[in-house]
């Protein structure tokens, strides 16, 4: 449980920060897309007997770069995501059908499972997670500029295309690190919901980031504790807490308007 909590909180911070950029750039579905793509990576890892988190990481990073490449070749970004999305899923399904032995383990990646989080998982989540946060902090003001106004950012000499790729790669990493805890199918909620709660309540970007992180950490911690004591699926519990928080935000906004 402690392991899951440490990993969960790191993931909560990472996903909610990336999520603010994605939501503001209308790329909310990117996390979901990359998660499905990494399903292919997980299946490949199991098939070839490689550590699945590692193969998933390589797979989703490659896909992130591929999506960005397709965008520069004038393919619409949602189409580019959809193409890789289906490719990853198709590859995963084919590999699963080729070998019949690993379905139970695969389920733990699809829906997440605290109990199956290993020491290796936590090491990977911690090291890569902290590195990723450092990269985000390093490019914080440039990513903020691009998110607000891509064209003007270009005229300020900000390498927009390269940083767009960086953001995609960071998203891919966050997705893979999160799926052990919340599962492939629920990963995107960790990116989208905290940001969607914080954004309408924020007066500046700093508030949006910190608000999103606070909501996310609190929800993940609460969700994991509930899941642990009531023996529920961790990913599901976390996401239900997040959705409840989102509903509470909507009610609060409405009350505020009336007052």
């Amino acid at each position: 449980m402690q392991r899951a909590l440490v990993g969960g909180i790191l993931i909560a911070i990472l996903c909610s920060t990336v999520g603010v950029f994605l939501v503001l750039r209308r790329m909310a579905m990117l996390g979901d897309g990359l998660a499905h793509i990494s399903f292919g990576g997980i299946a490949a890892g199991m098939f070839f007997n490689i550590y699945p988190m590692l193969s998933a990481l390589l797979f989703s990073i490659a896909a992130a770069i591929g999506i960005q490449k397709l965008k520069t070749m004038k393919v619409y970004s949602d189409s580019a995501i959809a193409i890789f999305f289906s490719f990853g899923l198709a590859l995963g399904v084919v590999l699963v059908s080729l070998s019949h032995g690993f379905n139970a383990d695969l389920m733990s990646y699809l829906f997440g499972s605290i109990l199956s989080v290993s020491g290796a998982d936590i090491t990977l989540i911690s090291v890569v997670g902290i590195l990723t946060l450092c990269v985000l902090a390093f490019f914080y003001k440039e990513l903020f500029y691009i998110t607000f106004d891509e064209e003007s950012a270009k005229t300020s000499g900000v390498p927009v295309e390269r940083l767009n790729t960086v953001l995609l790669v960071l998203t891919a990493i966050a997705v893979v690190l999160s799926m052990r805890i919340v599962g492939i199918l629920l990963v995107s909620s960790l990116m989208v919901i905290p940001a969607s709660i914080a954004l309408p309540l924020s007066r500046n970007f700093r508030q949006a980031i910190f608000g999103s992180v606070a909501v996310s950490v609190a929800s993940v911690a609460l969700g994991l504790v509930i899941a642990y004591y009531f023996d529920l699926a961790a990913g599901g519990a976390v996401v239900l807490v997040l959705v409840a928080a989102f509903a509470a935000m909507l009610v609060y906004k409405r009350l505020l308007k009336r007052a």
Binding site: E142, F148, A153, S156, G157, R203, N204
Partner: protein, 249 residues
């Protein structure tokens, strides 16, 4: 060329075979306040985008501060206020200060935090733009005219020598427009900043600018005082009277 801030040499550009700019040759010199006029679709915005390196010319050369644009890296010497700048997501969570500080990035350097001196420069940019008291406000809560000033402050934050503005007053009320042009005159005369102002408002351009560039696929530059009639003819044609002239409301 000595003292030339922006230079176009036989520049042509077309969108899918349709020429937007043909053999444009002109220079803007240090201290100039150039007002750029021309009918819709005449290539004004294309010209600005070429000058910023956002588009690459099919033919010809664009130079900034004497340097060819493909090798130009000193983006801090340049400020840009885009067309429809105020057309952003009004719910975007960003304070006035945060937006203005984006403009400081070319001076601060990539991946570097803004230093105390950078913060001060942003502060004085807000001061010049006359919105220092709004610095903590969410940008979406401001009026159109105030938002316009935030984008000016963003462009000024890098302390540029050359400022390009593409139809900056679209959607801004009359009073705010008037104040805005006074601010531009101040930047040009008191701070010796070179300005390129794209506008459809010939009256304002003739009054504030020192030179007029008329764009109609080709480009020519005239003196604002003596050459206004010629500028209008070259931009809009001899039969200008037939062109309906009304202000957008």
């Amino acid at each position: 060329m000595d003292g030339s801030v922006l230079e176009f040499e036989n520049v042509s550009f077309s969108y899918g075979g349709k020429p937007a700019l043909k053999d444009a040759t002109f220079a803007i010199r240090k201290g100039d306040f150039v007002g750029m006029i021309g009918p819709n679709g005449s290539g004004k915005t294309t010209l600005v985008k070429l000058a910023l390196g956002l588009l690459k010319p099919d033919k010809g050369k664009v130079r900034l501060f004497g340097k060819e644009i493909s090798g130009f890296r000193e983006w801090g010497r340049l400020g840009y206020v885009p067309q429809k700048a105020t057309n952003f997501d009004q719910n975007f969570p960003a304070s006035v200060f945060e937006v203005a500080s984006m403009g400081r990035i070319p001076k601060a350097g990539l991946g570097k935090r803004l230093s105390g001196a950078d913060m001060e420069a942003v502060g004085s940019a807000l001061e010049i733009a006359g919105i220092a008291s709004l610095r903590e406000k969410r940008i979406g809560d401001l009026s159109g005219g105030q938002q316009q000033r935030v984008f000016i402050a963003r462009a000024l934050a890098a302390e540029p020598e050359f400022l390009m503005l593409d139809e900056p007053t679209v959607g801004v009320d009359q009073k705010a427009q008037h104040d805005f042009y006074l601010l531009l005159e101040k930047l040009n005369k008191k701070m010796n900043m070179t300005l390129l102002l794209v506008s459809h408002d010939i009256g304002v351009v003739a009054k504030s600018a020192s030179k007029i560039a008329c764009v109609n696929v080709s480009v020519s530059i005239h003196d604002a005082k003596s050459g206004i009639d010629r500028a209008i003819v070259c931009a809009y044609g001899e039969d200008f009277g037939r062109v309906p002239h009304h202000h957008h409301i």
